[in-house]
């Protein structure tokens, strides 16, 4: 009857306590008369039963005019399957006894007592001030709650509220932070979509910087085409170079123990005795002295670097000595001066 208007919709696991307390305070505050359209506080028990977000309830209540007439049956109290018509709250109050049986909220009983305490009020008038506070309180309470509450945002009409809510939620939520822009749909799906799209766009920008000549192009499809072409060309280059390597160096020996032993970032330039060959290394292979000492120096390196299939470049230790006499040896620098040297031996 009377308090039916009080029980605004409330979704599930809210904080019924506060609502109940607020409700009672409101109630005690003195016999206000609420029209059923005005959801008072988000009363815990029945509100929870109605399973509506408070704001939605506000909307509904505001929109609906004739409250008293329509009241749907309350047989589904226990299952919380109320039709989303807050007007049935009128009936709800009558069935407060049933509510007490509900174990949903401990506060239901409290509310029912309060309900019963005000049996006399027949008319529930709108109290805008109350409504305002209720509304804001409701909003605050919502935002204080953790968990995914994006759907709450959906129902709110005003875009400012939308922004506020989402911003508040962004602060609390531990995961995806998406801010709904003004005038955009705040579907959870579209939010996620937007987040993902922005992620992809960010990465696309990154790729664009990598691939030369991609920043001029507009449109994602073409950029992606470019990227794919680039990757393909790089892979082909690797293949080509590996073929060349295979053909050019049938025999390469690296003894990498030393290299690994003295592994560090500094690579030094190698100088070859008498060799005109200069490595076009932006980086150089590094070797330590040890291997150098182990070597047996062979022919002085006045020779050039005639490279044909027979010549087999050998890098490394004396294991390579047995590789034939027609090898040219290019010895690198002097030992003491250059601890890290490139040694190449043909």
């Amino acid at each position: 009857m009377d308090l039916s208007g009080r029980f605004g919709a409330r979704s599930g696991d809210g904080v019924p306590f506060r609502e109940a307390a607020a409700l009672e305070s409101l109630h005690i505050g003195g016999g206000e008369e609420f029209r059923q359209m005005v959801p008072p506080e988000n009363a815990g028990g029945f509100a929870a039963l109605l399973e509506l977000p408070p704001t939605q309830a506000v909307e509904l209540l505001h929109s609906s005019s004739s409250s008293a007439s329509q009241a749907t049956t309350l047989h589904s109290l226990g299952t919380l399957s109320f039709p989303s018509n807050p007007l049935l709250m009128e009936r709800a109050s009558r069935f407060s006894v049933i509510a007490t049986d509900n174990q949903q909220n401990g506060n239901v009983s409290g509310e029912t007592t309060t309900t019963s305490s005000v049996p006399s009020n027949e008319h529930i008038k709108t109290e805008p001030a109350e409504t305002e506070t209720c509304d804001q309180a409701a909003v605050e309470k919502q935002s204080n709650r953790c968990g995914k509450r994006k759907e709450l945002d959906k129902k709110v009409k005003s875009s400012t509220k939308k922004k506020n809510k989402s911003s508040e939620e962004n602060e609390k939520l531990p995961y995806v932070h998406v801010r709904a822009r003004r005038g955009q749909a705040t579907d959870s799906h579209s939010l996620a979509e937007r987040a993902r799209r922005e992620k992809i766009n960010a990465r696309m920008k990154l790729l664009q910087e990598l691939v030369p000549g991609c920043d001029k192009i507009q449109g994602t499809a073409l950029v992606l085409d470019e990227i794919i072409n680039h990757v393909q060309s790089l892979q082909r280059q690797v293949e080509m170079l590996s073929m060349r390597l295979a053909s050019v160096n049938p025999r390469i020996d690296f003894n990498l123990d030393t290299i690994l032993a003295s592994e560090n970032g500094s690579l030094m330039d190698g100088s070859f005795n008498g060799a005109t060959m200069q490595l076009a290394w932006p980086l150089q292979v590094m070797e330590t002295e040890q291997s150098y000492h182990h070597r047996q120096l062979q022919q002085p390196p006045s020779q050039q670097w005639p490279f044909d299939g027979l010549n087999q470049p050998v890098w490394g230790r004396e294991e390579n000595q047995d590789h034939g006499n027609d090898h040219n040896n290019l010895m690198v620098g002097s030992t003491s001066l250059h601890p890290n040297q490139v040694k190449m031996e043909l």
Binding site: N170, H177, V178, R179, H189, A195, R196, E198, K199, I200, A202, R203, L206, L207, L210, T220, A221, L224, I227, I228, H230, V231, Q232, L234, Q235, Q237, V238, E239, L241, S242, M243, R244, L245, A246, S247, N249, P250, R251, I252, D253, F254, N255, L256, I259, L260, E263, G265, L267, M277, L279, A280, W281, P282, L283, V285, M286, W305, F307, G309, G316
Partner: protein, 157 residues
Amino acid sequence: MASADKPINTDVPEKDVFTLHFLQSLSNLRRQNTFNSPEKTNDRVKKIKKAAYVSMARAAGGTNRLWSRALLRRAAKENSKVVRFPRRKKRVTCLRRRRSNRRDPVEEEEAERLRNLVPGGGGMETSKLMEETAHYIKCLSMQVKVMQCLVDGLAPK
């Protein structure tokens, strides 16, 4: 506006790391006795190529990157070796489930092509795929440079 994720990390190690690994693998290859025979050039080429890729994968961040893991795993399978990776939390199955929502016809076909190109791209979401592609491109270009230098060094004409 979506909040920015922490900056996308596509760091690639220096060239020397690449060289090291590559030369290492090449030397291993060298030790095989049948390596030098002139007839089996194709095999050699393939081996070198594979060595290049594997060494690149190892050099470029080992198992931290999806594409390198996929590469290494593929290579190990061919050699029938068992590769052990540190356990990852996400499973591909979860990704598959979510993938169904994320269709965008224009970019999906491109993404498909990318997936075929980049090793290990099959199980990735589009955004992750792009990240991997960026890193892959960097590593590939590094590898190309290294190999180019090698070839130039050994056959300067």
